[in-house]
Amino acid sequence: MEPIGLVLLLLLLPALLFLVFRVREGKAGELRRLPAMEELPRSVGDSAETNDPIHVSVGVAGVGGAATAETWAGLALLSELADQAAASDAPLIVTVGDPTVLPLAQDILRRAYARRGRLNGYDSTQVRFIAPVPLAYAAGVTGLLQRQPLRGNVMIGAFGDEYLLMGEAGARVGMPQIVGAADPRTLPFVYATADEPLIGEEMFALSSYAGRKPIQVASLLAEDWARWAVVAGIIVVAILKILT
């Protein structure tokens, strides 16, 4: 395997540790506003008041494949949402498109209710395995969005073209939609249908925005540093190419 990933990891680790100290000293500045994170508590509040659930999707991929990081991003947000939902008695419906995510999502939900001392409020069928084929999953979720009265639709994870079936169904019903995807072919559909689109890397930042631990904030800063390094590298290589 190409060692570039390991090199990147080894370069980012010391930068991350250095930035943790900067954050702890209060020298790191503020995180920029992410409207999706402000919309989430509103949807949970509406859901608690009306008792209509919020639909959460963590994508069509599972854990262990190429899109594992995107699925983890969805699960991390689910963890945050489950905490808020358990605290305010707002119902959630979680759909998964890969069976490896099913026990993880159920466990996240169960622990959120247990932390609030309300384990009797947890129901394992709140997490539903729809289908392992992306189009079949999209068809199942589209039916759910059209038939079930919902207060919001949160979709963070790996999605392909089939997202448009679900995104359009949600937009037609008129419910608030928070959607994050990483595939550039899906992003135009996300932008056209979601109220709060999360483009590419923004979806990986959600858990850090929710947790705000120094190391989480430092990881976002390290990502910014790495981005500047890549930009500088591209400019230097372009100039060298022109000169030679």
């Binding site: 262990g64 069928t125 997490v127 068809a139 932008y191 056209a192």
Partner: protein, 210 residues
Amino acid sequence: MAALKRIVPTAIAIAVGLLVLVAVFGSIPLIDAVGTYLIDTAVIIAAFAFFLGLLNVLRVHGRKIREGGANRLYSFVLLAALLLVLALGLPSLGDQPSGPAQPAVEWIFQNIQLPVQAALSALLVFLMVTAGYRLVSHRNLESVVMLVVAVLVLLGQVAVGLVPALVGVKDWILDVPTLAGVRGILLGVALGAVLTGLRLLLGVERPYSD
């Protein structure tokens, strides 16, 4: 006890993550073997997860049928189809193979599932038009840019011979700003994924324990 319940899963997750990472990038035979064993174990667990998925579908839709309501017919059809395919695919009849290669299951796949999936894919064309219309109705700068670019690219695709300059404009739009944007997004996603992995490896984020 509560601390132990938090520390043990985190320690196992970090150790397994580091071992697999070293096995993927390194070349130490012992660690390679351990890494391969761990990945094989994950594959077996993933296969078992399909069984959990089946139970979940049975529970969710069984409950919907029991509770009644206008939509219970859909749940009934789903469970009937699931059980029918299982009944056809599980036993090995005579010299016919079992599983997905069983002729009846293959017939269902070719003549029901594939056409339905193709029909759903075809729907995407119309949904793209409605999504585009919705975006234009926002009446902001981004929607205007999208509309202008979409019209230029569409004309560039179809107007060969009528407005030759548009073919060049279309190629430039796809090869320069679009490709640059896509690469920028992919670089950001790669960095975000690496940092997510790092947070998991350091045990900062633990979706598997409190």
